[in-house]
Amino acid sequence: MSATDRPGEAPRERPHDPRHEERILELLCGDRPEDDAEVRELLRTCPSCRASWRELEETRARLDGAAEERREVLAELGRGTPAAGEERLLDTLQDLAAREPHARRGPLRPGWMVAAAAVLLTGAWAGWRWLRPAEAPRAPTWLGAHGLELLEPRGHVDEYGRFAWTYDGDATAFTLRIYAEEDGRPGALLLEKEGWKDTTWTPAAEGLARLPARIHWEVDALDEFRAPLDSASASASRSSR
């Protein structure tokens, strides 16, 4: 109890100060014990630090839970017998190595030639940057933003109909999923179209009829192994009928 508190009264609270976070960090990292007088006083009198510490402890406990499961499964791994799919691994890797090599080998591409090319290109780029006229800054490009783009429906529409998207990569198929949107998040899956080759799909009338006022829909672009290359999602709502 601080000197300013009286017996029987609630402790006097003090406003949060960014410097408090130093103490919380020390507590979190074990540099100060929880029964440290300064820490105890801080947690008693600063509601923000108290809430923050409780949240950090909860988060740490969640991480420990996840780590525990991982440890248990990895410990069991060594005792396992061969599992379904092991027999395909080498073929899959050889196929991947042929189709998607990580490196190109050969006498024409030794490391020093690549490095020299990089130096030349950097020099050329620096010269171009120096000489070119100033231009307005460009908008940032987000990773994946240009690959898969959902076109319709988006935002508010009169009725749901065609679902359309574009993809500028080499996808062999798409999977479209339509969810009921609940509290701004995807809820129950309502419709799913797997392995679709086109970039538009119109659900059957009965499927459209059962879509709720607000939906969340997502598209996965898939490669020949059915592994996702890219995915995108959008929300849409329609007028109440």
Partner: protein, 192 residues
């Protein structure tokens, strides 16, 4: 990662992966041997969830995960043995596969409930730790790295500092910041 901090298994795995990345196809059988952990992990995960997937589904899933791992192979830094690194891929893809299957199974039921004008509740999420892994993929990469080494690899802050070439204080600051970033994502109940 400083060599002294690596286990010998992780060092061997890292050398193997570097060799494969350099185009040494003669090492592919060894890599396939190490990647046998993929179907086995998927089987263990499935057993713990009561056997949701069939044998063929697991075999197909193992192939999908193998493709994903191949594409991310350059990101393996050897801070943990290969199984530890592969774990994240297996867990994520397994959960996605089961969720797809389970949602398809309930689609008819959900549609019927909607037609009856009944509310549609979110399916109970059996993945107690899914949001943790999903959250770690959404927070800052450096922060996630520290958290993973701390909780999943069991390293001390000093060991993490040595491994990443950072001072212990920087590591602690990243850990603190990472936990603060992670917290709201866990409250969302599973980041997508």
């Amino acid at each position: 990662m400083v060599d002294g901090q690596r286990t010998s298994a992780a060092t061997d795995d890292h050398a193997l992966v570097r060799s494969v990345l350099a185009g040494n196809r003669a090492e592919l059988p060894r890599l396939a041997e190490r990647m046998a952990c993929v179907p086995r992990l998927l089987r263990l995960l499935d057993q713990r969830r009561g056997g949701v997937l069939g044998v063929e589904e697991r075999a197909d899933l193992a192939q999908d995960v193998t493709v994903r791992i191949w594409r991310k192979l350059e990101e393996y830094e050897g801070s943990a043995p290969f199984e530890g690194w592969v774990w994240g891929f297996c867990l994520l893809e397994y959960q996605n596969a089961v969720r797809r299957k389970s949602r398809l199974r309930h689609e008819t039921e959900v549609a019927a409930r909607l037609e009856r004008g009944e509310g549609v509740a979110l399916d109970p999420d059996p993945w107690a730790h899914e949001d943790v892994h999903a959250g770690l993929r959404r927070i800052g990469r450096e922060e996630a790295r520290v958290i993973q080494l701390k909780h999943f690899e069991g390293l001390t802050f000093e060991e993490i500092g040595l491994a990443l070439g950072l001072s212990p204080n920087t590591v602690k600051a990243r850990y603190y910041r990472g936990l603060r970033e992670l917290r709201p994502l866990l409250e969302e109940g599973g980041a997508r």
